[in-house]
Every structure is written in structure tokens, then in C-alpha cells.
């Protein structure tokens, strides 16, 4: 108990005197806060991108592409293949036939609002009438659905915000094609929200694809019918296709990108953290040096070395906590929900997403800040505890 009382007394004394050493403490706090801002905000990019990709697919849907194609962009299916695929068992059947949509996935050059002078590869999808009911998360938020057989289009909510000429009533001019925007849809924040949708037959004409498609998206009877569906098609010699669950298809596309961003984020944060620890060591070293007499007096009065050691560590942890909190709040206020778009290298097309400063990231940032404070305080704390009483007092 005595030990505890001593320790708390010294800690309180320490922390009360921090304002007197404000400028040197500020160096450590700013350093740690800087690391946490960079760490949390870079990882929030990966979190946002990953979330957009992962909320894109449903395990209850399957995506059929030509065998060998790794993305819809490089796949190709003939009109005859489509009929065979739609007959396969395992597909849910609605009132108007199988819940399956044969689709085209192409790119259309449209400038980003943020860089109006440069065209961006915006993904454009041709769907069949079943295309919307198959995706149960899709709903219109503005305007109306396009009419099949026309050049009307609907655009995803993110696309509408990120690219030019994508409000309801606008016309997208692309070469000799003209597309009228009649509605805006949302899809649970998934990548579909970056896409433009139109009638697949109109798109076949506009992109000179004849009667060919690139993929078929089907709603399965249940998530368990996947194997039945896949096996019946892969064993059918009439078609040469590969079948993936939609969720797995999108998750695989986000792997390389999120890994790269996380790698860069962790790498930068680790190096910055080492630097911030050095900064904290300097600060605490100065704190111990300026309070050498005080510490020596306490020791002379009978306070034990552990109390002194713990008090220095506590001060340094407090600096870490303050830095971590400032950094976390700054990252949240500055970047959470920031809308942007980048290129998905698998399909060379744009994906819009929002930075996500998640609670986990904030916790990681704070934990990291405390770790930096603790490590930074260690050496100076040992130094303080070892301070020879007599010579420190003599410095008076």
C-alpha cells in the first residue's frame, strides 16, 4: 500500500508539472499524433476500398464467365452459351423464368469531376430485365429505371457523384453514342454504385459485340445449390465456362490493392513510429534532466526507485495517450467518409469508395501511440531511477 501511495503521489506531482515543460512535451505529443494520423488515415483507405469490394458480392449468387477469363472484362460468351447456362439446375426461377441476367461489362471514358481534363475508365454494364431483381440490394434513389430497348441509362450513386454528366437529365456523349441518364441507384455501397447500367442489347450494338455477352449473373435457389449449379455446367461439353460465387469474385479483386495499401501504411507508420519514439525519448530525457533535483529530493525523502521509474513511464504514457487521441480525432475528422475513386487494376475500371476510419483502426492507433509512449519513456525512466542522489542534489 505504501508503495502504491508513493507511486501515485509521484505520478500526480509529475503530471501536474507537465505544463511547465510544455514545449518539450509538445514535441513528443505532436510526433506521436503525426504518426497516428498517418497510420489511421492510410489504413482507412484500405478499409474503405476493401469494404466497397466486399459488400459487392452475395454468396447466394453465382457468376458465370468463360473458362480462363479472370475478370468479366476479358470474358466472352456466345448467345448460344447463354441459353444453356440459363437451363442449368440450381437457378432460382421467378414468375418470368430463371433469375439470371446475361451481361456485358465495358468501359466508357468519362472525365472525373476532380480532374475534368482527363478521361476516367468508368465501368458500364449491359443487363437483361432480370438484372435488377437478381440483385436484391439494388434500389432506385432518384429518377426511374431505364426502359429496355432505348439508350437510357441509370447510374450508381457513387458514379453520379464522382464523374461528369451523371445527374438525372444529363446526357453522356461517347463517340457516336448518346446515353440519357434517367435514374440513380444504390447497391449497399458496393462497386455497382460506380457503374452505369443500360439494356444489354443496346450496349451490344454500341460496342459492336454482336450477339455476345461476357457473364451471366444468377440467383441461386439457395447458397447451397452452388455446387449443383457449377457441376452441371462444368460437366456440360456444350459450354466452356468457369463459375464463381459472386462474393468470392469481388473479394479476390480487392486482395492485391488492399495488401499494397496496408503494406505501405504499416511500413510508413513503423518507420515514423521509430522516429516518434526517438522524439519521446528526447522529451522524457529532458524532463528527467530538468527535474533531476526534484527527483533526487524525493529519493532523499525516502521515495523508492520503483516509484520514480513508474512515474516517468506514466508521464510518457500520458503523452502517448494525448498524442494518440489527437491523432485519432484528427484522422476521423479529416478523412472519415472522404469520397474518392481509384482504378481497380483487375478490370482497369474505376471503383468509387469512401475512406473508413473504423473503431478498430482508432483502437489500433491509440494502442500504437501508447506503445510509442511506453518505449520512449523506458530509457529515461531507468536513468531517473539510477540518478545518484548526492550528485544530483549538488547540482543545486
Amino acid at each position: 500500500m505504501r508503495w502504491l501511495r508513493q507511486t501515485t503521489a509521484v505520478i500526480a506531482l509529475n503530471l501536474r508539472t507537465v505544463p511547465a515543460r510544455l514545449s518539450s512535451s509538445a514535441v513528443a505529443i505532436i510526433g506521436i499524433a503525426g504518426v497516428v494520423v498517418v497510420f489511421v488515415s492510410v489504413l482507412s483507405i484500405a478499409a474503405g476500398f476493401g469494404a466497397a469490394m466486399q459488400s459487392s458480392g452475395s454468396p447466394g449468387r453465382a457468376l458465370v464467365m468463360r473458362s480462363g477469363a479472370d475478370t468479366e472484362m476479358t470474358s466472352g460468351l456466345a448467345g448460344d452459351d447463354i441459353d444453356v447456362i440459363k437451363q442449368a439446375p440450381g437457378i432460382r426461377r421467378g414468375n418470368s423464368g430463371p433469375m439470371a441476367s446475361a451481361e456485358l461489362y465495358v468501359i466508357i471514358d468519362v472525365p472525373k469531376r476532380s480532374t475534368p481534363d482527363a478521361a476516367a475508365n468508368v465501368p458500364m454494364r449491359g443487363i437483361e430485365p432480370a438484372g435488377v431483381p437478381v440483385r436484391d440490394e439494388v434500389s432506385m434513389v432518384e429518377g426511374r429505371m431505364f426502359r429496355f430497348g432505348t439508350t437510357e441509362v441509370i447510374v450508381g450513386r457513387a458514379a453520379s457523384g464522382q464523374f461528369m454528366n451523371m445527374r438525372v437529365g444529363d446526357e453522356i456523349v461517347s463517340g457516336q453514342n448518346r446515353w440519357q441518364v434517367v435514374g440513380v441507384f444504390e447497391a449497399d455501397g458496393g462497386v455497382a454504385e460506380t457503374e452505369i447500367w443500360t439494356d444489354v442489347r443496346t450496349l451490344q450494338g454500341a460496342y459492336r459485340r454482336g450477339n455476345t455477352y461476357q457473364s451471366v449473373l444468377v440467383q441461386l435457389d439457395s447458397a447451397d445449390s452452388f455446387d449443383t449449379f457449377r457441376d452441371s455446367l462444368t460437366s456440360n461439353p456444350q459450354v466452356n465456362v468457369a463459375i464463381r460465387r459472386e462474393s468470392e469474385y469481388y473479394a479476390a479483386q480487392s486482395v492485391a490493392m488492399t495488401r499494397l495499401i496496408r503494406g505501405i501504411g504499416f511500413g510508413i507508420a513503423a518507420l515514423m513510429g521509430i522516429g516518434a519514439v526517438f522524439g519521446a525519448i528526447l522529451t522524457m530525457y529532458t524532463a528527467v534532466a530538468t527535474r533531476a533535483r526534484e527527483i533526487a529530493t524525493l529519493r532523499a525523502l525516502g521515495f523508492n526507485t520503483t516509484a520514480v521509474l513508474v512515474s516517468v513511464l506514466a508521464e510518457s504514457l500520458a503523452l502517448g495517450a494525448i498524442g494518440g487521441a489527437i491523432g485519432g480525432i484528427a484522422a476521423y475528422l479529416g478523412f472519415h467518409g472522404y469520397q474518392t475513386s481509384t482504378m481497380n487494376f483487375q478490370t482497369f475500371s474505376q471503383v468509387a469508395f469512401a475512406f473508413q476510419v473504423t473503431p478498430e483502426l482508432l483502437a489500433m492507433g491509440l494502442f500504437y501511440a501508447l506503445a510509442m509512449g511506453l518505449i520512449g519513456g523506458l530509457l529515461p525512466a531507468i536513468r531517473a531511477a539510477r540518478l545518484p542522489i548526492s550528485s544530483a542534489l549538488r547540482e543545486l
Binding site: T74, I107, G263, G275
Partner: protein, 382 residues
């Protein structure tokens, strides 16, 4: 010069503090070097892109093919030195994670239009003699341990062969190039692709046109686009530089993010240096007063303190930048995601300038204080 020993003594006055300040500055400039490397990697080599090369793509989108027949019309347009075409193949080597660019080209014209890719003459001849031949960049060959003569199968994705799914290539040459140029690409012959693909005969991806006079780039671009207007495949022509810039912009402003992080880093560690200098000068107030009493002018004192601060920043920062450079020489650590991985000389110069600025700024306030020090006050305080 005669003050060097004095500056040296002052720098090492508190070994512990100087060591950690040096380490902080070291980390700051190590990070600066790496961040600028990442920035350059995401700008995709736009700095060295040719201004005398134009790229013609389909107006609707890059993924739409163009007819082979445009070649003749481009080649005969006045002001055109050489026209050729390329086609994105997107073949997969073993598995999708092994991604690298593989492109069908016209070998002779390709090598003429891109003189920056250096291939030994005997390897060029071997490539011209073998329809299934291909050349790859040095970095790519290293990544997969390929040697000239190896047989490399690529799985077709966009373009399927008439039979099966696999296209076989013979490695006939390995190209090298200066730093900052992508050495991870795989080039093979268009005639091999065109004769053996199941569909799409006579289609090419895009055209590359070398023009005689770069100042004519805008005018010629317009000429080309008007030439093919109202045809089934309208075109959009840009300089190669503009094309790459546009592509880089699509990734997002990685450059701005890297500059923002660098600024945070330099500010953070600049503060560390400034606080160290302030303390160091504060501790020596009486010493400085003695120097003044001995007849050192205010300007000399100012210079002494600034020199001390500069010395710490330049030694720490210089080492940091040097280590960053050494690290970058090891090549892309991501295994192919960042093909252009080098620290641009421009950024090294910028780094040195930043060191000077940081050293001066960190030392400025304490140095001015020291210069203005009044001997009587200072000695009394001590």
C-alpha cells in the same frame, strides 16, 4: 574553418541527446526518400514519357479495338516519322497473381520507336527470325528466373488461340533500360497473335505514332481524330505523356498523399531538431556570454549555432537519404506491383534543399537569441 573543432565539441556536448536527434532526422529523410519513390512509382514514369510520340485510342474507351487498316493512313500523313500499333494481350503466366504487362507489337518498328529499350543485336535478329519469339525486361526475367531460349506459356484471356487456351512463346531477348523505365514488360509479335487467334483478326489495341516535330503534336492529333471522325471507330489522340498522366490520374492522387505524409514527417522531426537546438543553446547561455566577452561578434555566434544545427540535420538526413537510395536499389519489394521503382534524382536534390532549410529553421530562433544575448544579463543569470 578554424571553428570546426568548436562546433564539433558543441554538437557532441550531450551525446545522448545528439544521438537521438540524429536518429530522428535520419528516419525523417529515410521516409522522405521512400515516399518520393512511391510517388514516382505511381506517376508511372510520366517524367520520361516521350513528347514526340502520340497515342491513338478508340474514342469510346481504351478497351475498344481499332482496325489494322488505319496504319497505312497514319504512316502516309505528313509529319509522321513512324507509325505502329500495339495490342494488350493480358495473358496469365501460371496464375493471375503473377501479373505483368504482355503486349503484341510489330518488332522492328517497336524497337525503332522505343530506342530506350536496349536489346543486344543478336537477340534482335533472333526475335525477328522467330514468329513465336518474345522479349522481356530485365526485371521480369529476374523475377521468374527466365533465360534466353526458355519456352514461356501464357494462358489467353482476351484472345484465345484457335485451339486450347495456351499460347507458347520463346524467349529471344532481354531488354535493359535506364533507371526509371519499366523493365517488367513482355513484348511479342503481333503476326503470331493475329494468325492464331480464334476471333478478332485485323484488330489492334492502339496506335503509337512518332512525329518529326513535337511542337506539331496538338495539330497532328487533331488531324488524326478528324481523319477517322464519323467512321465506325473514332479515335482520341494524345501525347504519350498526356496518356500516361491521364492513366496515373485515374489511380487517384497518390502523389498528393505522399507529399502530405512527407510534410507531416518533416514537420514532426523538424520540431525535434528545433527543440534540441533550443535546449542546447539555453544550457550554454553563460558559455556564449563568455565567448562574447572574448570578442566573438554577434554574427560569429549566430553562424556557430546555425552551423551546429545544419551539421546535425545534414549528417542525419544525408545518411537517411543514402539508406533510402540503397533500399530502392534492391528493386520493387512488392513483386511486380510497382514496376517503376527508383528514387528520382530530382527528389534527391529536393531532399538536400529540405535538409538545409530544416537546419536553418531549427537553428534560427536559438541562433538569433544567442546573437542578441547581452553579456551582462547572461553572466548574471548564470
Amino acid at each position: 574553418m578554424k571553428f570546426l573543432p568548436l562546433i564539433w565539441k558543441n554538437v557532441w556536448r550531450r551525446k545522448f541527446r545528439t544521438t537521438f536527434t540524429l536518429l530522428s532526422i535520419f528516419v525523417a529523410f529515410l521516409l522522405f526518400g521512400l515516399l518520393m519513390t512511391i510517388r514516382a512509382a505511381f506517376s508511372l514514369g510520366v517524367e520520361i514519357a516521350g513528347l514526340d510520340r502520340l497515342i491513338l485510342i478508340h474514342k469510346v474507351s481504351l478497351i475498344m479495338p481499332l482496325p489494322y487498316s488505319y496504319l497505312g493512313r497514319l504512316q502516309t500523313t505528313p509529319g509522321v516519322e513512324l507509325a505502329t500499333h500495339q495490342t494488350w494481350f493480358n495473358g496469365i503466366y501460371q496464375e493471375p497473381a503473377n501479373f505483368f504487362a504482355n503486349i503484341a507489337v510489330e518488332p522492328e518498328k517497336f524497337l525503332k520507336i522505343y530506342p530506350e529499350f536496349r536489346v543486344p543485336p543478336d537477340q534482335v535478329n533472333a526475335w525477328l527470325a522467330d514468329r513465336q519469339g518474345a522479349i522481356v525486361g530485365r526485371d521480369l526475367a529476374q523475377r521468374f528466373g527466365w533465360k534466353v531460349g526458355d519456352r514461356i506459356p501464357l494462358i489467353g484471356t482476351i484472345w484465345q488461340p484457335k485451339q486450347g487456351q495456351v499460347w507458347d512463346f520463346n524467349l529471344r531477348g532481354i531488354y535493359d533500360a535506364d533507371e526509371g523505365i519499366d523493365k517488367t514488360q513482355f513484348f511479342f509479335r503481333y503476326d503470331y497473335l493475329d494468325e492464331n487467334r480464334a476471333e478478332g483478326e485485323g484488330l489492334v489495341g492502339w496506335y503509337v505514332v512518332k512525329i518529326a516535330d513535337p511542337s506539331q503534336a496538338v495539330a497532328l492529333s487533331r488531324t488524326f481524330d478528324e481523319m477517322f471522325a464519323n467512321s465506325s471507330a473514332e479515335t482520341k489522340t494524345t501525347t504519350e505523356k498526356g496518356f500516361i498522366e491521364g492513366f496515373a490520374k485515374q489511380i487517384g492522387d497518390i502523389g498528393a498523399i505522399m507529399i502530405a505524409i512527407s510534410s507531416v514527417v518533416l514537420f514532426m522531426f523538424g520540431l525535434v531538431a528545433a527543440s534540441t537546438m533550443a535546449q542546447s543553446v539555453r544550457e550554454r547561455t553563460s558559455e556564449l556570454a563568455v565567448l562574447k566577452t572574448l570578442g566573438f561578434s554577434g554574427a560569429t555566434i549566430l553562424a556557430l549555432v546555425l552551423a551546429e544545427s545544419l551539421a546535425i540535420v545534414i549528417v542525419g538526413g544525408g545518411l537517411g537519404l543514402a539508406v533510402a537510395w540503397l533500399f530502392v536499389q534492391q528493386g520493387d519489394p512488392t513483386g511486380g506491383l510497382l514496376p517503376i521503382f527508383s528514387l528520382p534524382p530530382r527528389d534527391v536534390v529536393l531532399g538536400v534543399a529540405l535538409m538545409l532549410a530544416m537546419g536553418l529553421l531549427a537553428g534560427a530562433a536559438p541562433a538569433l537569441g544567442a546573437m542578441r544575448l547581452r553579456i551582462t544579463d547572461a553572466l548574471r543569470r548564470a
